[in-house]
Subunit: 730 residues, 2 copies
Amino acid sequence: MLGYGSQTSQSERDWEKKFRDGIVPANIRENMQRLSARPHHVGSPYDKDNAEWILGKFKEWGFDAHIETFDVLFPTPKQRVVELLEPTKFTAKLQEPPLSVDPTSNQTAEQLPTYNAYSIDGDVTGPLVYVNFGNREDYEQLDRMGVSVKGAIVIARYGGGWRGVKPKVAAEHGAIGCIIYSDPRNDGYYEGDDYPGGGWRPRFGVQRGSVMDTDYPGDPLTPGVGATPDAKRLAIKDAKTITKIPVLPISYGDAQPLLAALKGEVAPDAWRGGLPITYHVGPGPAKVHLKVESNWDLKPLYDVIAMLHGTDDQHWVLRGNHHDAWVNGAEDPISGQAALLEEARMFGELHREGWTPKRTIVYCAWDGEEPGLLGSVEWVETHVDELKQRAVAYINSDSNSRGFLFTGGTQDLESFVSGVARDVQDPETKMSVFERSHLHSIANARNAEERKDVRKRHDLDVRALGDGSDYTAFQDFAGISTLNLGFGGEEDGTQYHSVYDDFYWYTHFVDTDFIYGRALAQTIGSAVMRLADADLIPLDYAPQAETIEKYEGELEKLLKDKQEEFTERNLELQEGVFRAINDPRRPAVPPPVEAVPPYMNFAPMKNALEALKKSSDRYSKDLSKWQAEGGPSESQKMESLNEDLLKVSRLFLNEKGLPERPWFKNQIYAPGAYTGYGAKPIAAVREYMDEKKWKEAEGQVPQVAQVIENVAASIDKCADDLEALAAPQQ
Amino acid sequence: MLGYGSQTSQSERDWEKKFRDGIVPANIRENMQRLSARPHHVGSPYDKDNAEWILGKFKEWGFDAHIETFDVLFPTPKQRVVELLEPTKFTAKLQEPPLSVDPTSNQTAEQLPTYNAYSIDGDVTGPLVYVNFGNREDYEQLDRMGVSVKGAIVIARYGGGWRGVKPKVAAEHGAIGCIIYSDPRNDGYYEGDDYPGGGWRPRFGVQRGSVMDTDYPGDPLTPGVGATPDAKRLAIKDAKTITKIPVLPISYGDAQPLLAALKGEVAPDAWRGGLPITYHVGPGPAKVHLKVESNWDLKPLYDVIAMLHGTDDQHWVLRGNHHDAWVNGAEDPISGQAALLEEARMFGELHREGWTPKRTIVYCAWDGEEPGLLGSVEWVETHVDELKQRAVAYINSDSNSRGFLFTGGTQDLESFVSGVARDVQDPETKMSVFERSHLHSIANARNAEERKDVRKRHDLDVRALGDGSDYTAFQDFAGISTLNLGFGGEEDGTQYHSVYDDFYWYTHFVDTDFIYGRALAQTIGSAVMRLADADLIPLDYAPQAETIEKYEGELEKLLKDKQEEFTERNLELQEGVFRAINDPRRPAVPPPVEAVPPYMNFAPMKNALEALKKSSDRYSKDLSKWQAEGGPSESQKMESLNEDLLKVSRLFLNEKGLPERPWFKNQIYAPGAYTGYGAKPIAAVREYMDEKKWKEAEGQVPQVAQVIENVAASIDKCADDLEALAAPQQ
């Protein structure tokens, strides 16, 4: 057991087993039923009611709990219009109909209308253009087809990345409005029977969601600081993260008449969805009117913070899940929140039975995640100095489903979380969740080489995180080691951000008997206990060093690929390939000649990585030795080593932040400016490369190298400490 | 100019130029309008009328022409029923509605109903199962899902190979009936606007077609011999190529209610089509009644054979295209037939102006291609001995569209046809059709390696042919060098085997101004002239040797892939991967343990290939030298060399034929028993490998090697002859 001496590990095992045995699916079900009983978005009565109920529960279970409040900008819609004006008239419903079998779907008075939060107000009319997912590559394709969106309203389908990228890129290309719809190909009957017959999104189901820009998460008016009453606030017009053009989401029932009215070229094969129409790109003859107007008041956030004090109250293990939803949010976020509460209940139980964690456990039920990670970001911004001193790690969850354990985060916790996963049983197969996830990776490997890698690996694959949930501020702003855990891969549909994501739907089509809610609570609760109680904070840097080396290799490969791609393209232009394949009935514009990227100097980063691998291998070996020797400890040295370990991950930060996104301080882990959810490791270099700014990209290499060197040095320091411990003077 | 001496090439160039300049698109248009004016399937009045009109034309242009008649089994439907009995009632229309804009679509009295020829009569009722394309892999997938088709009626979508494979494999798995439908994903609105707004298949459009088994093509009652009046005929019940279960084709309009009534597991992603439903596999609850009853009379075939006698009347250059259609058949086959006739007209013109081909040119307008290559097969079977003596090559065409020249055939003609394609201008880009096709191959290469190969290659890529059109008997039964040429790749839809494949549709959505009809006539006409007039028959064996070596390499790769696949699968079974990924809501049966294939001895074939490469390289060099020296010729030696060259391709035959398909004599070129259209080079070995009969496959290697050695020796003989010519004794 990583970080445990022979004296402490047995007791830990016993307590953990008691913990896991005590988790009751029926409690998780009850938690969900209570919390998802009414719509509970930011600013709604039931959002506050839930926070207070959660607070009461934590207190009941013996936690030292309170609610922390922030005031944030959260627009809610006043007027929404999507109309087809030409060649025929059609007015979009913009409404999710109540279903008789679904008892909460008719709570229309409390439901937030279908909309995209942080859309700017606007009233626009123009020709329609279909832009596929609305990513930058899609506009390159439109260029090839000779189609411009200047002055047009674009219609993009959900998927292919963070929804906020769609209006951002559309505006950059001159569009005046943006409609986003759920295509049944990705999210509807194509995937499976639709609700309520099956679990998939029905004809008039709509995905709400934030389209806040990705410059920084959290309250748009208080970047970098907590949205406390006395915080200095930007004027709304100066908030960079509000969209440049109006946006609304619609159902595929509403989208079909708009798409069917498009002419122009037939959309490329990869762009076509599951509607029974020929997908054309336009522009027009469809002419569309789009209007959005919001109420721009500040709204209160209620973060519930609950501590179970450890014997060492100076160090914190944090665990969080948000409680706010777009509507009833049974899956998102209550499936995670309900498990979190069951963990807390059992901790209270264990505490009464005599267990006290070594380090303090901090449970967080965040408000305002949906609009833009508001609750967690404002809280971390407010407490960042204290967190940097105290936080051992942050473990997040959000929606939970069925199937395989997915692990995201920082790989200094990879060995640790793999150890935890070995001790939790998968409820369906009865193998450990570790084994099931590991074998799933073998099954899903894309080729023999990947399969070989997976088989060689003793650990789960901890994937780098972007900014999809409340871990963002911990990892990217505060440099705290992070895990994000959840089960998935056996879905029978999704009602993501719809009124139908409710208790009836979840208990009919998702984790109906809450055995994966139990597995989630067992996994995360065990991880929290094990982190809190360890003699030595159970970080192992070797997997992280290996992963960062892989990220560096990806940069080199990206450069090589681009060199080859542009060389090939230029040759083909010269040979006349594009002239040869041009069909005069659907003329294509040849792609532009591209300057072939110069070679870049990655040497500083590679040298730094050598140092990192050396120090992390050394620390890993020392750790094994320490464990093999039964974990000799001398409390003062141990304390200082733990203090040092805690700080290693802080050194990934550079206070200046990323070149064009200063809020994001972490130089290894970051979301992409144009992917959002998706991680872009080593973003300072990689994003300039994506922009074909090769010189600027190269210019970032030394500072990233410096960060890696600092981390390497601090790990060496830990190894010094550990060697001193492991071989006490005799 | 390959095969031409300096004295003859200029005159050839002049005549060819005159030929190409004389081809008139308007004539091709007129030919199409006449021939597609009424339905003209086998046995119909207009089929005979067309044959007589074609005969008259050939005679008018100075050809020595006649009609050759055969009597063949060709069933036509008397009764057809497809009904959904449960859970709701629905009766399929089985009817393509006339369209007011389309003037021939209402010739319902003469149209063949929608059906699959050579379906056995039957009247069956059973639960429905969706089987994707109905290939063997699809049934492996169904096994994994625990779904059996025993006693069921299967519904398969068109595509993924020859339609006749669908009922064959269904019957092998115990199905009692087979319905085949056109899914809009592959053949309808998903691809583009449907007819008559666009060119794609409309809701009630149906693909007719033969489902004759692939044991042998041609008349089911006279395998291996011509269906002449005195031929010995099998009883119908003994005809192996009639299906084992009844089959009918339907439209997607008729298919949708059937598919929508299926429950059971959701079909795998790759199986789902473009209908706005969730695709389930069943079985049931849909219960279907299928009935087919045909008139099993013999019907007459009218092959039109027209000769333009050369100065050397002992050797023939053959050129063919069928004239029968399923209905009006503007594209299939009249787009090719109309070009063929325009070639013949110009040959008559040149002949009047003083040109006489060296070798005799034989133009063939085949009847009965659609039911099963009947006209060409019966003719070749009747004349096989004479053909083996006389045939230099056979050039085929069938449907013609727009875009890029596609070349199939035997690669001994690869250098030759590339030379021809360099001399024909592409009407859209004004580059040569060679260059356009070559650049298209660069654009379509799947990776950098393939692109490199294409760039290195001086020639077009002549693909191995299976059995999709009238070249089959020439190549596979008679061992004649073959080309199949056509333009395509810029389609605006297809009405393949539908009433809507007519003059109105073709002239609105395909080659509207017949400039690709002209390009086809120019390409094939030039090829025919150049083959007929050459001093030395323009065969070059180096590309063929290289290609056969590639085919051999594919066998070795297939073995290696199967070894790796089964080793991996068995390992995963042992590791528990399939247990780990099993979702209890959609339980999957693990695949069976497979014996890992043993290593096979390919050495005899590799040794033979070394000999083939050596002899063909030698002949290529000799040929270059001969051409460089201006083509010295000594008529007697020349004649004997040409005689030898003519016979090389015959040596690919083995009179015993393929192990389980004795009609197919060619040991290198053959269709697959389970692919039909698609070629399976070196089928004797490869098909046993597909069956996992490794020992039997290995057992075929020596005889294939022997065939290759014989070919190599005969090429060496040609090289001897040529060296004697090129270096005449001084």
